[in-house]
Symmetry: C2
């Protein structure tokens, strides 16, 4: 199958949609194909049945490995799941999300300290640093940087992606399904495939840039007004997309209001310890 | 100043350099400007004194905000530091890295749960979920996804970047310097600026793709041979770059061999609790 990417929106349109009318003042746009492609991002939850073309996965992984990695330790691994039954089992473990079954390739990103454990062991040494929260965090960040390169590269080829944070809902069962060794944790998943154009969403608005970008020191002065504007912008977006309009503020408070709202992830410390991490 | 980006290497050369001769078999390369730019990545530790052109920072932040964010919670903030004295103080807190002083714009990425705390409080609610490790991890991942979009976008404009993990060496002092509220943590920094062409490094080799990409389940069978090959490839790269040749295996074991080797980050749990995080 030939890859014929959807042309990204012109940059000014992307920005208007992204900021819901609160677009930052950008006088002379440093435009190029990379920036246009990045600004045009939307998550894809509806896929066509077509498999990835030959060499696509290898190229995507090469882009992932081209991301920076802390101290060049490369503390991540990615497992490409294409088996129908395994995708179905993983989708059940992740809140029964249909797009995990639908996408041809489901990538599971592993925060992986086990490789260094094995290397140290082969030299009769102990990777004592791996017992600390710092190294777990570093591995999760390494995985995230690699994954985001893959997202940008995939979108430039006309493919769609969506992250699956719900890989963290039932970590021990995911680890068993993927035969993970100790000190390895499925930090998130990523669906990759050809987007179904009939189910492609618009560009989701984000908070005003003044809320996210601060100068010299932290400054939340502009926040209250920006959040009110954003609730309106998200409401308009949801109606436009045929979704139920719930304001962002209310949804956000609900999403982190109670331990139960974390969908199993309130027991992350216990799960990570069961998987061998020290978290000291 | 006009932006005239260095042209990325042809894709086949990037791949050969990245994999040090162990390049994955890619039969029909899905080439485009985005993938070429990503594969050409190298971290930049030498900067020219020129400032960023107008609108560059705003465009970069827009690419960061275009990255996916878990449940659209947007649990990150970025502080752009351009003040000479503040950059100097931050460089001291991060192991005295000269490039933090040298780059015109130093971005500090904040894993930021404080915004949701404030929003909940304004509605007389409590964001109890923020007390859990899961939410800290989510915030760190959100920051990493946004940052990597910014890295890719910056490189496409001909700018250089390098991540500064050492922002985590002395977290309470960094938080004080940036006036961070409770539940906000500087997870890493990012130097951004115009690379000094005289100090531009080559493409750093990575582990063979077979080590990082597994199929269906975790499988480290190819690892021992791949690591030995990699030690050789890194040795050649270091000599070529005029660096001291130390094999990767030895360097890696040393880097995580003891708590002290974590450069202060062995006390990350204590530091995060001092900064208000629950980590339950």
């Amino acid at each position: 199958m030939n890859i014929s990417p959807r042309k990204p929106l012109p940059l000014a349109s992307s920005l208007t949609q992204r900021y819901g009318g609160q677009s930052p003042k950008i006088s002379s746009l440093p435009v190029n194909a990379v920036i246009e492609s990045i600004l045009d991002h939307r998550s894809v939850r509806g896929y066509l049945p077509d498999k990835l073309s030959p060499s696509t996965l290898e190229t995507l992984i090469a882009t992932g490995q081209s991301a920076p990695t802390s101290s060049n330790l490369q503390t991540w691994t990615v497992i490409a799941v294409e088996d129908t039954d395994r995708k179905a089992r993983l989708s059940i473990l992740a809140g029964d999300q249909a797009h995990i079954r639908e996408c041809p390739t489901f990538l599971v990103f592993i925060a992986d300290l086990s490789r260094i454990d094995r290397i140290a062991q082969a030299h009769s040494e102990v990777a004592e640093g791996n017992r600390y929260l710092e190294m777990f965090l570093m591995a999760a960040i390494d995985a995230a940087l690699a994954a985001q390169n893959i997202v940008v590269a995939a979108e430039s080829m006309g493919l769609g992606t969506v992250y699956i944070g719900a890989m963290r809902n039932r970590p021990e069962e995911v680890a068993a399904e993927l035969a993970l060794p100790p000190d390895a944790f499925a930090v998130f998943g990523l669906c990759v495939g050809h987007p179904d154009p009939a189910r492609l969403s618009g560009i989701r608005p984000r908070l005003a840039q003044s809320t996210i970008l601060h100068r010299e020191q932290y400054d939340s002065a502009a926040e209250v007004a920006a959040v009110a504007d954003y609730d309106r912008a998200m409401g308009e977006f949801q109606i436009q997309q045929g979704m139920k309009a719930i304001d962002w503020t209310r949804q956000t408070i609900k999403r982190v209001g109670t331990p139960d709202a974390l969908m199993g992830r309130h027991r992350l410390v216990e799960a990570l310890k069961n998987l061998g991490f020290g978290l000291k």
